[in-house]
Assembly symmetry: C2
């Protein structure tokens, strides 16, 4: 009893509250990753990040090839006239040539198949005078041995895989995926697959986070549920820190009697952020252990989702040398009052009659309804709240919708464009 | 020789030319898929599509739980006064309660931990009068057994996996991935990993398409290179059609002497589209064999990429009951002349000083440069071409940028919104 009371007293002590932007800056600043490299066959490297630039081994085409389907001739034989071609012999004076196929010997000009006639005896009639050298693709036009095929730190798309294969780069060095340990904690939790007894619930944040980490490009390791016992928690954290590049401690971050996260985190590292100055996920903590970040996420799913998006994703991007991706923003018309005291609201945005309208999804709505949210309104400290009918700028939600391997998966086209907004990314040639 | 000539004559016969929109309509119309279903653990179902709605097994919370960290009391004991609480005993008159944790017995009201003081002897002081029943989450508020957690044909995100796990749905029926056979053809090709002899090149479209199919949600099977021999091609196509839901025949679609695709396709099915009325990928063919589509793609990579995007992606969407995704469009300022005769242009779009500018990437540029394209200008039959400085609407390129498992992967937020443009998708409640 007494120990519990002292524990509560300690937790009621006012910790500094940190803004989301400042919190991210702090943890990115203090995290230092030792990126590992592995060699992969190109065919298995989809979505991986190159550890160095990859050079072409092949020169292609490796001899002149035809750009079109037609016949190849020796231009000098034409002597300005078409009529002489009727005596030409196949093989010596002309050959068929197909698009992309090498042209033999000293043939040097291609005539489109539509521009010739060949009768049953093999007699050739050329219907229009070609230009010398036309429709010939010179050797090396596609690539030359030694060309940079893909720069370092490129995230590999299907087209990259094709390009690398063409270039003869069959195995390439890529950054290993950052290892992310997920530690679910809480005496109230039972594992997935078991029926929760009275007062208990299922530990499902872990499975969600595991999937998020995969999408973000990390290698997740999901721990079994850890009881709210400081010794067990410290032991699990030290175990995770020995393997992982970053650790997620889910739950135990609040002020409950069993919430021992802060004292445990102080044992294994330096707490940089005790508490956020606004929700969602107000009790998110950020800790540095050596040079490895620990993101302490709240138990409620919604808060945990945002901590993943706002802190874990940028940390994975840092490990993989990828640019940070800002959430897309959109101006919407609110269909509900949203008082300032709410701090944030989950919204469902739809396009109606050419404008975007947003309906609030209540915090007490069933979880399946909450999943229909596709945007968040985050209010600044100065905001006076919103009335129905007002326009607000919202953040579109991304990560949890990004289902890999799926027809919905659509790429960072806009990101690729917006990355180039930064002047330092504008190449001289543009 | 003679056989070749007759072959060319046949190919020079003018086939009807079909627009991209009409071609897509034809092939979607005639393709009938027998979707298969498999049972998967939720943890392995990221990005998969539910084959039926999934219901909650659990009711959660399964007893009243606290919404906040605090103490639970029996409201009736308060009798309107705060002073009487000093004699309350822990366990009988109040208990600690943590967020999300079940409240025992007949406790019915929660007071925030910040609103109480407990001294070293365990004496309780309540600092503000609570409302009866406050901060109690009733049983079933998160979900009730029998609730629909996820509707049928939902593409599963990380949040879905969490929701399904919470609801006790540990194994779920999902649509099997559509099987897509990729048949690379061409005498000029050597397999990946071998050095191309003079006049030959590497078969790399297959590896690219395999990756694209994975991103689109299909299960690819990449065949070894098939020689330009009608008997071998027919044999391979029949083999592929026995296993696959759809087939991609890459190469052989042009008018070269070795291009036997059309005669082969006529042997195994009914050709719906012999030729497109515009590039890229003008010689793309569409064939129906029984009820299975065969997409004949051109050999050059750029044309093949578009055929994948324009025909294979919608076919996979149809199999998986997913909405078609229209490419994003963007108004850009062209930095180069683009004459109408080009039919289409590959562009690199960047944001400069608040507007989007597009530089053309020449068709003869090295392949690594062509990969930097992020948009396409497709000109209509009526277009008179563009001069530098004019504004044009372009299609942003998507699929090949969508690298799975990657920091760049970003979801279909805008798609989710734009799908809702259609009135039939607007729910009554909105």
């Amino acid at each position: 009893m007494i120990e519990r009371i002292i524990n509560i007293e300690m937790k009621n002590f006012k910790h500094p509250k940190t803004s989301r932007q400042e919190a991210l800056r702090l943890i990115l600043d203090r995290s230092r990753f030792q990126s590992r490299v592995e060699i992969l066959p190109v065919r298995e490297a989809l979505g991986r990040v190159t550890a160095q630039e990859v050079l072409a081994v092949n020169t292609l085409p490796n001899s002149p090839v035809s750009r079109m389907d037609g016949i190849a001739i020796k231009f000098a034989n034409l002597s300005g006239e078409l009529s002489n071609s009727c005596n030409w012999r196949y093989g010596a004076d002309y050959v068929f040539c197909n698009t992309g196929v090498g042209i033999p010997g000293d043939f040097d000009t291609v005539i489109l198949i539509e521009d010739v006639e060949i009768d049953e005896t093999g007699e050739l009639r050329i219907l229009s005078i070609p230009q010398a050298g036309q429709y010939i693709r010179p050797a090396g036009e596609i690539m030359r041995a030694g060309d940079v095929l893909v720069p370092e730190y490129s995230c590999l798309s299907p087209l990259h895989l094709g390009l690398l294969s063409t270039g003869g780069a069959d195995e390439i060095p890529v950054l290993s995926k950052p290892r992310v340990a997920v530690l679910p904690t809480g005496n109230e939790l039972v594992p997935v697959g078991s029926k929760p007894p009275r007062g208990k619930t299922v530990e499902s944040n872990g499975i969600m986070m595991e999937a998020q980490i995969k999408i973000m490009g990390g290698e997740p390791h999901l721990y079994p549920i850890i009881r709210d016992d400081p010794n067990e928690l410290v032991k699990a954290l030290r175990d995770a820190l020995a393997w992982a590049d970053m650790v997620i401690l889910n739950g135990g971050s609040s002020k409950g009697t069993d919430d021992r996260a802060l004292e445990v985190l102080e044992t294994v590292g330096e707490i940089l952020v005790y508490e956020m100055n606004s929700g969602p996920g107000k009790h998110t903590t950020l800790t540095i252990a050596g040079s490895k970040p620990i993101v302490g996420t709240v138990g409620p799913t919604i808060g945990a989702v945002y901590a993943m998006e706002w802190f874990v994703r940028p940390l994975i991007c840092k490990y993989l040398f990828q640019p940070m991706i800002e959430p897309e923003r959109l101006k919407v018309k609110l269909l509900d009052d949203i008082p300032a005291a709410m701090e944030f609201a989950w919204l469902e945005v739809r396009q109606i009659n050419g404008f975007y309208a947003a309906k609030q999804i209540g915090r007490l709505a069933p979880l399946s309804r909450q999943l229909q949210s596709n945007a968040t309104l985050i209010m600044s400290k100065e905001s006076k709240g919103y009335k129905a009918g007002e326009i607000a700028e919202v953040e579109l939600r991304c990560a949890d919708l990004a289902a890999l391997n799926s027809p919905l998966a659509k790429a960072g086209v806009l990101e690729r464009i917006s990355q180039r907004i930064k002047p330092d990314r504008l190449s001289q040639s543009f």
